[in-house]
Amino acid sequence: MSTEEREPLFSPKNMKLIKNPINLSNPITVQVLGICSALAVTAKLMPAIVMSISVLVVMAASNVVISLLRNGIPPRIRIIVQLVVIATMVILVDQVLKAFVYDVSKQLSVFVGLIITNCIIMGRLEAFAMANKPWPAFLDGIGNALGYGIILIIIAFFRELLGSGTLFDIQVIPQGLYDFGYVNNGLMILPPMALITVGVIIWVQRYYTRELIEDN
């Protein structure tokens, strides 16, 4: 190892890599990336959680791989190299899902494959992993995937609760309410409502985090 002083693994600087994307630079609510999958897989809670975990694995793994390779990648073909790495990880995740949670894998269908095109992953590889060591790159991947996953799970929670009256496919709204005239909100199942839910989350987040509000 070199003579330079080694940074502790969980130094404040490194912890920031995890904390920041969860709130201040959240990939969905602040950078507005990865919206498509936030609409597509959030009608139910289960697929949303599986999707979040898949993205977490792919993101962390490809961040580390690219970070290891970063000095060997010719700049002109770096995008292709990044894509190859992501695609490999996605196929691995897809096969694991098919082997162990086949039902959920069917529900997610094409969207697992489409993790390849998730702009958050490409963005982090380009912006962070290409210029940083493997450990910070790993933390950055985890942080961004968590920021993405938390929003996905919040959206899915409200969409499933209000749209189907269930959580994890178990009925949580008492039958008595239905007898009383309560009806599930069909609009929550439709994709537009996911966008509006994202909008509400952004609203709440900005209400509590004043530094996010642009001054104009």
Partner: protein, 381 residues
């Protein structure tokens, strides 16, 4: 009037800055301006003002809605008793509809104005009159049996996401009343579509399909006469059935100059021409329906007169209004005939064109600039 003025003047200090009821100033403001034209004058910039303010504009639309509303109340009762084969006197029918609609109107205004006042307080601006008309429009475009809690949710959604998030009255992109209806339509389709909901407390054996519902499934045997549809003796949303009453409202709006004739006229023209085109095509029985049927069925007339003309969400330029109105009419009839899921296309057509209105305006203005630049070049050459 004098006594009222004195009373208001006496209460005013309580609501001004430092008064003990300071927090409720928005409510006081709205009550005061209801009776008196505000005495505020412009303090800077342009001093040119129209003689009527927003409150007077809104009250005119309100008056224009009254004929259709009163007829709607009667019709709710008429349809109800008809389904049982009874025919009591007109006053009984009116009273039945009146008591059906009263809770709907109260809930709409209660929820809508409550939220408006809340937002006005938080953002410390005065309560706008925008909801005054929306609050009457919403009860007129829903079935009389709509569950009140669903209505309340829809109104709250419309006020918050249709209007307040864009900055309140005058800043909204889409018509809030239609947002409320669209919300109900997609969220709780069981209570606002199909052939069970359009007659209040309908007898089970009686077919409650609207002409639009009949037309969509190709059932033209019991189609109501043109006279019935024009006068409004058909099932449907409360305010939409009577084309005659809507035309009276339209006359009030046009004579007072509140609504723009360009939009109103082109919506009817667009719908009629689309109907004619379908006549030419004539692939099925629905397409062969006389084109003017489309103008008197369902909510077409109501949408054309009261919804499409909303000055905030319609196109602003004169030329743009022609395109806007024409497309509203065409798309409404297109959706009716082609889309099996939506018997009525007026709501969706207006919402869609609301979104496109700024784009239309943009191109109209760009076109004008280009034309004038050309003229400038010719002169300078």
């Amino acid at each position: 009037m004098k006594a009222l003025r004195n009373f208001l003047d006496k209460q005013k200090p309580h609501f001004e800055k430092g008064g003990k009821l300071e927090k409720l100033h928005a409510m006081f403001d709205s009550a005061e301006t209801l009776f008196f034209v505000p005495d505020k004058v412009t303090s800077s910039g342009s001093h040119i003002r129209d003689a009527i303010d927003m409150k007077r504009t809104m009250i005119t639309v309100f008056i224009a809605l009254i004929p259709a509303l009163l007829f709607g109340m009667w019709n709710v009762g008429y349809q109800h008793f008809l389904s049982y084969g009874e025919s009591p006197d007109h006053f009984t029918m009116f009273l039945y509809g009146f008591f059906k609609l009263l809770p709907i109107i109260i809930v709409t205004y209660g929820v809508g104005l409550g939220l408006e006042i809340l937002f006005a307080q938080i953002r410390s601006h005065e309560v706008n009159e925008g909801f005054f008309v929306s609050g009457l429009l919403i009860p007129m475009i829903v079935p009389a049996d709509i569950p009140l809690w669903q209505l309340a949710v829809a109104v709250a959604f419309a006020v918050v996401f249709g209007k307040e998030v864009f900055g309140g009255t005058g800043m909204n992109i889409v018509n809030p009343a239609l947002v409320a209806r669209a919300f109900l339509f997609f969220a709780y389709p069981g209570n606002i579509s199909g052939d069970k909901v359009w007659i209040s407390d309908k007898a089970d054996a009686f077919s409650g399909a609207t002409p639009l519902g009949d037309a969509l499934v190709g059932n033209f045997d019991n189609f109501p006469s043109v006279y019935d549809m024009f006068m409004g003796f058909i099932p449907g949303s409360v305010g939409e059935t009577s084309t005659l009453m809507i035309l009276i409202g339209a006359a009030i709006l046009l004579i007072t100059g509140i609504a723009n004739w360009r939009v109103m006229f082109t919506v009817f023209a667009g719908g009629y021409i689309m109907g004619l085109l379908f006549n030419l095509w004539g692939a099925n029985e629905y397409m062969e329906l006389p084109a003017y049927y489309h103008l008197i069925m369902g909510g077409f007339a109501f949408g054309a007169v009261f919804m499409a003309t909303d000055p905030v969400t319609a196109a602003q330029t004169n030329k743009g209004m022609y395109y806007y109105g024409f497309l509203v009419g065409m798309i409404a009839v297109l959706i009716r005939v082609f889309n099996p899921a939506y018997p009525e296309g007026m709501m969706l057509a207006i919402l869609l064109m609301n979104v496109f209105a700024p784009l239309i305006d943009h191109y109209v203005i760009e076109g004008n600039i280009k034309k004038r630049l050309k003229r400038l070049k010719v002169i300078s050459n």
